[in-house]
């Protein structure tokens, strides 16, 4: 089998058996990057020297990840690599520390090849908001890869790396995974430390993994979980995670199908492919149960208020005093206005304004306060649902990857792309994206499986069985074949 077709376990075996050296493996992927990057623009920073040196020194026979290359979304800090978060305001910034999650992967011997493109500060659903150019979908270069972890998703789909890290505040791992035909996990809130993740919506942010298959996600995910003394919101994983009762089938597994996620406005092929996948589950022994998550329609306004409110504070540190080039002006207020006005992109400014407004005296209760109440109701929707079912199956997004520029002047229509992914962030529950088919334009379609808190292992079990029986995840865009 060729490198490009090997799973992480397969790669590990080739490395362990001595069939291949880690430097060769890294060289292979660096060559793939060299060949395809001009078309895809997945990376903001590629560090061949660093990667090859790491590969050369990787000595960790007991780690399943030893010597395996990975790409890191540019909102995560890696000591020695610039971190821009897709923004001009952080251009040239070198963090002096490494994010806890990334550190754990490095300790396990993973080889970081570079940093991937993202919507500025992870705000967006297409990578079109990156200050460093849009990333192109490897399946069709005229289309977006999704976002905000579009660089990571495109890099994996294009075969430039076997696995990549992303972050997911409202769907930013799952939606690009879906648009690029790969698998992606957004974990339970707090299960992976956020220390070293540039904050967008702190109460919603999760670090996630993107890979071609669920099997490839698992070892990376497992390495990163756990309580971190540097993140007060991180939590210890349960000692005995929930698993499928039967590892070979879905017998005894109850899968819920919420009616609010199958509504008009969703692309017909998307709904069709997801329904087919649900039929597959049934064939594998699952019990399919219609359910309701009644407050779904309020997720978009609640999310955009809460995430923007938190972002308006999180991004206040970029004031021109410590980072980047400061704009000269006569007064302090003008230094702030001009530096931030010039160096933040439009979408970031829009959300800062939105969030500032939502927290302002006289508006707080009507916006922020109300949104928190909605969040509680959405969380309860899920709690109720998970008394009846083990997992919930939905589309990841209403459409497949759209054309670059399609939502150009209409941010609201772009926000609607997030409708099926936001609720999991608001409720803090995990969501797994799996490829389940293609539309008429040959763009990948993704399904989302959501579970109760700390049920990632159960979702992985379901995903693995599905991927054992189907081959959607093995499909590759032409450039990666």
């Amino acid at each position: 089998m060729k490198i490009k077709d090997l799973s992480l376990a397969g790669l590990k075996e080739s490395l362990s058996s001595g069939e291949m050296k880690s430097t060769e493996l890294t060289r292979f992927y660096l060559d793939c990057i060299g060949e395809r990057e001009t078309d895809v623009n997945a990376f903001l920073h590629i560090d061949e020297k660093y990667a090859l040196a790491k590969a050369n020194s990787a000595n960790c026979p007991n780690s399943p990840l030893c010597g395996i290359p990975i790409a890191i979304k540019d909102v995560l800090m890696v000591d020695g690599m610039p971190a821009t978060a897709g923004s001009k305001i952080l251009e040239g910034y070198m963090p002096p520390f490494t994010a806890t999650a990334v550190k754990k992967l490095e300790d396990a011997g993973m080889v970081i090849v570079g940093k991937t493109n993202t919507d500025e500060f992870a705000m967006g659903s297409s990578t079109e908001n990156s200050a460093y150019g849009v990333t192109h979908n490897p399946w069709n270069l005229d289309r977006v890869p999704g976002g905000s972890s579009g660089g990571s998703a495109a890099a994996v789909a294009a075969g430039m790396v076997p696995v990549a890290l992303g972050s997911d505040t409202g769907g930013s791992v799952r939606q690009p995974a879906s648009y690029c035909g790969i698998s992606g996990i957004k974990p339970t809130y707090g299960r992976i430390s956020r220390y070293g993740l540039s904050a967008y919506g702190s109460s919603l942010d999760s670090i996630g993994v993107l890979a071609r298959s669920v099997a490839d996600i698992i070892p990376v995910f497992k390495t990163m979980v756990g309580k971190d003394p540097l993140d007060a919101t991180s939590v210890e994983s349960p000692t005995t995670p929930r698993r499928l009762p039967d590892a070979e089938s879905l017998k005894g597994t109850r899968i819920g199908v919420p009616k609010e996620y199958f509504v008009e406005g969703t692309q017909v092929e998307v709904a069709g492919a997801v329904r087919e996948a649900i039929q597959e589950f049934k064939k594998m022994g699952a019990e399919i149960i219609p359910i309701s998550l009644p407050h779904t329609e309020y997720a978009i306004p609640a999310y955009y208020i809460l995430a923007s409110a938190e972002a308006s504070a999180n991004l206040a540190r970029f004031d021109g005093i410590r980072y980047t080039q400061r704009e000269g002006a006569d007064t302090l207020a003008e230094v702030y206005n001009q530096t931030r006005g010039k160096l933040f992109g439009e979408e970031v400014k829009r959300r800062i304004m939105l969030g500032t407004y939502a927290l302002s005296a006289g508006y707080y209760d009507a916006f922020y306060g109300q949104a928190q109440k909605v969040r509680t109701l959405i969380r309860r929707d899920f709690e109720d649902a998970f008394t009846k079912v083990d997992a919930i199956a939905t589309p990841v997004a209403p459409t497949t990857a759209f054309k670059i520029g399609a939502h150009g002047d209409d941010p609201l229509s772009m926000y609607l792309e997030d409708i099926f992914t936001l609720p999991a962030n608001l409720a803090g529950v995990p969501g797994l994206a799996l490829p389940v088919g293609f539309d008429d334009a040959n763009m990948p379609i993704g399904m989302q499986l959501m579970g109760t808190r700390f049920s990632e292992e159960l979702l992985f079990d379901i995903g693995k069985i599905y991927q054992r029986e189907t081959s959607w995840h093995e499909m590759k865009p032409k450039m990666a074949r």
Binding site: A83, P96, P229, A313
Partner: protein, 476 residues
């Protein structure tokens, strides 16, 4: 018209923890330390960093809350207070807003009209900002202080004069020092005040419009600023005007308050719960542990000193004003000296020596044991009081044992009747006129003769025996 001032104080207290409130950086001396020496990615707000609460800071805050009789809330919430300033690296300050750690306490103060209770509304934890220094053409940012734990203690508007506010503040400082949570070094800015002042016609209930004077760093400036505001506001009202609700600063040189910003420019801090920190939970076990470690507070100690040691109120007050002094006093008593004598020696000679040399009780070479010994040498008649003063001075310098000094220098009191009798005889023989004058009825001369004999004995004669011998020879 006569006006009654109504005053509330906000006191910002630096908690003397070893490390900052949300990161592991050490807390360094804000005056002495090199700028930006105690700074890390967290307190300089590098992207991706997160706060973690220093439990010691919470415990210090709990101590203060308990000492003020506050309720320690089982759950309190950190919030973000948003504003831009170059000394605030995150662009927001983590503070507690709607749900503070400690609520509803009180403090007893002494006023001209007797004791009075000042209610404490709340005490909440927050982080300090950095420091800006303005130089020619630039402003320099020092983040050493950014993230140092602060406790903001907010009183109710229960004070009615600057003197009352000062009494409250001084009392609070004493308590903080007792609790070991603050050095009380005002000149280092470890305690800062904000005074809210309004006035209303005497006899009326409705509160006047208040002003807030910020950044008051000493008792003196706080008192002056309040008096200035009382006078200014009274004048405005007398002239038929209205007081503006403004935030003010204090110009130390001019001795005047000045307007920093008006109501219309008031900041909208857009507080919201800090998503990076879960609610702060204090369970019963933690509360009990902190309470068990609370020291005896000045007020309780004062009352115990009165009751147990029969001290005068004045002595008791002086001795409890500082925890180290009170502890020194008790240790000296425990070494066998009489409380009243210890109080006299400490408030008299010992404090005088400390003042002259500007050393504190923690630094002096006189141990409580040595002081107790010295006092018993006097009470046993081995040395007299004047000699004892000399010996104390010697111990203060050298730290030597009092007995050893007395022996080495031959300062022991002479109680040999024959010897003293000899001194008396020689003085009487040398001053026949004074003796005649005494015997003719001018008995006061005896005291002068007493002094002469003592001089002859180089001050070491037992005064009682001396007096007996003198009278015997004069009257005999």
């Amino acid at each position: 018209m006569k006006y009654e001032p109504v005053i509330g104080l906000e006191v910002h207290v630096e908690l003397a923890t070893e490390s900052k409130i949300f990161c592991g950086c050490p807390v360094v001396d804000s005056v002495e330390a090199e700028p930006n020496i105690a700074v890390c990615p967290v307190c300089s707000a590098m992207p991706g960093t997160l706060p973690v609460v220093n439990e010691r800071a919470v415990e210090y805050a709990m101590r203060v809350g308990m000492a003020l009789g506050c309720k320690i809330e089982p759950v309190s919430i950190f919030a973000r207070k948003n504003y831009f300033y170059p000394d605030l690296p995150k662009g927001y300050q983590i503070s507690q807003f709607e749900e503070p750690l400690a609520t509803n306490g009180e403090m007893l103060i002494e006023t001209e009209d007797g004791e009075k209770v000042i209610r404490v509304l709340r005490a909440h934890l927050e982080e300090d900002a950095g420091k800006l220094t303005h130089v020619e053409g630039a402003s320099l940012v020092d983040l050493n202080r950014a993230g140092v734990p602060l406790l903001e203690i907010v009183s109710q508007p229960d004070m009615h004069s600057a003197a009352e506010a000062r009494a409250y503040a001084e009392n609070l400082r004493e308590i903080l020092r007792y609790l070991g949570v603050n050095s009380g070094d005002m000149e280092k800015g470890v305690i800062r005040f904000e005074a809210n002042t309004s006035v209303r016609p005497v006899g009326t209930e409705k509160l006047g419009i208040r002003t807030e004077v910020k950044n008051l760093n000493s008792f003196r400036s706080m008192e002056d600023a309040i008096n200035c505001e009382i006078a200014r506001q009274s004048k405005v009202l007398d002239e038929g005007g209205e007081v503006d609700q403004v935030t003010m600063g204090w110009d130390e040189e001019k001795g005047q308050t000045y307007v920093m910003r008006g109501k219309e420019d008031a900041h909208d801090y857009r507080y919201f719960p800090e998503p990076d920190l879960p609610p702060l939970k204090v369970d019963d076990a933690w509360r009990k542990r902190v309470r068990a470690d609370l020291p005896e507070l000045p007020r309780a100690k004062f009352e115990r000193f009165l009751a147990d040691f029969k001290l005068s109120e004045y002595d008791a007050k002086v001795l409890v004003s500082d925890r180290a002094i009170a502890e020194y006093f008790e240790e000296t008593v425990n070494n066998g000296a009489k409380p009243k004598a210890v109080a006299n020696w400490m408030t008299g000679e010992l404090f005088a020596l400390m003042n002259q040399t500007e050393v504190s009780i923690d630094e002096i070479k006189v141990t409580p044991k040595a002081l107790a010994e010295l006092i018993s040498l006097v009470s046993e008649g081995k040395i007299n009081k004047n000699t004892a003063k000399e010996v104390l001075g010697e111990i203060f310098k050298s730290g030597k044992n009092p007995q050893a000094i007395v022996e080495k220098k031959g300062l022991a009191q002479v109680s040999d009747t024959a010897l003293i009798s000899g001194f008396v005889s020689s003085v009487i023989n040398a001053h026949p006129d004074e003796v005649t004058s005494y015997r003719s009825g001018k008995t006061g001369v005896a005291n002068w003769l007493f002094g002469q004999v003592m001089r002859e004995a180089r001050g070491r004669a037992n005064p009682q025996i001396l007096r007996e011998e003198l009278m015997k020879q004069l009257d005999g």
